[in-house]
């Protein structure tokens, strides 16, 4: 060649054999079963078929949090002896509707842990305005309620 390049001896005559060997190796690695085996990773049966379902249930987990928060408020209100009437949007109930005295009395008797009510205060669109003093209800009571509600929610959605 005019370029000055040269080839190793027998390069061209050996090329096809080397190419076939490489293609054989590559074709094996393209078979999906072999790919799984070579990585060492396994997945549960039908994982990808169920994957979409899992995404849906993850979304509903967000809804669950909201439902739980509302349920907790409901149990709090029931504990305080307040009964709700069905209400329209113009009649939405607020914590400010509760008698301060009733709340204070309950707080004095039971106590509330801050973290239990974080769920409520983080909910931006809530109409509930939490009074700092409310954050002292018996944690065990609420957690028991959460646990029962969670069991119910999962049972419905499975």
């Amino acid at each position: 060649m005019k370029s000055g390049f040269k080839l190793p001896e027998d390069y061209m005559s050996d090329f096809k054999n080397r190419l076939n060997q490489r293609m054989e190796v590559e074709s094996k690695s393209y078979e999906s079963d072999d790919l799984k085996a070579s990585s060492g990773y396994r997945i549960p049966d039908a994982y990808f078929e169920k994957f979409k379902v899992d995404v849906v249930s993850n979304k509903s987990t967000e809804n669950k949090k909201l439902k739980i928060a509302i349920a907790a408020i409901a149990v709090l209100a029931i504990s305080l002896g307040i009964t709700f009437k069905p209400f329209t949007s113009s009649e939405q109930i607020n914590f400010s509707d509760l008698e301060d005295e009733q709340i204070n009395r309950y707080i004095d008797q039971q106590g509330i842990q801050d973290e239990v009510l974080d769920e409520y205060s983080s909910h931006q669109n809530s109409n509930f305005e939490l009074n700092d003093a409310i954050k002292k209800v018996d944690q065990k009571e609420i957690l028991n309620y959460f646990s029962d509600q969670l069991n119910d929610l999962y049972a419905y959605e499975e």
Partner: protein, 188 residues
Amino acid sequence: MSKNEPHIEEDERLLVKRLQSESDKQLAFDQLVDRYKEPLYWHIRHMVKHHEDADDVLQNTFIKVFRYIDGFKAQSKLYSWMYRIATNESNTFLTKKAKRLKLSSQELQDHLTENLKSDPYFEGGAIEYQLHKAVDALPEKQQLVFKMRYFQDLKFKQISEILNVSVTSLKTNYHHAQKKIKKQLGSY
């Protein structure tokens, strides 16, 4: 017909048909490799410069050809389709190499040419070395045209089919490339 000029037309059409058939694919592929390994090797070698790299890229090219031959619609000639794959594979290889060595594409060309001095598969003297340096200095398109015409003896018509560029444009590019190279090699 030069020794690097691929066989074409009817023979090629039959070969494609066999390559796309399940029963005859492997045999036809062996025939394809025998026919095109050498012209494709030289095309790649002039782009990547070093033998080991050219060997890698040539294998990748044939693997791609084998993998995608079923989708080949014969809208272009088989050899021009294969040359395009080889060109793309070479460019991809060079881009990755430049990235790995943290060099610009021009710096990589200089680096590859510099390394020819110690390459056991380069037997050129000072003139050939200077020729490669002069080719490196050309714009990318002129480089490609010059290498295909001068080193590989491809006809302008063939280059036109491979690069999908008019023959007139190729001749202009080649003319400019030749002129620049002659000027640079003037002292030799």
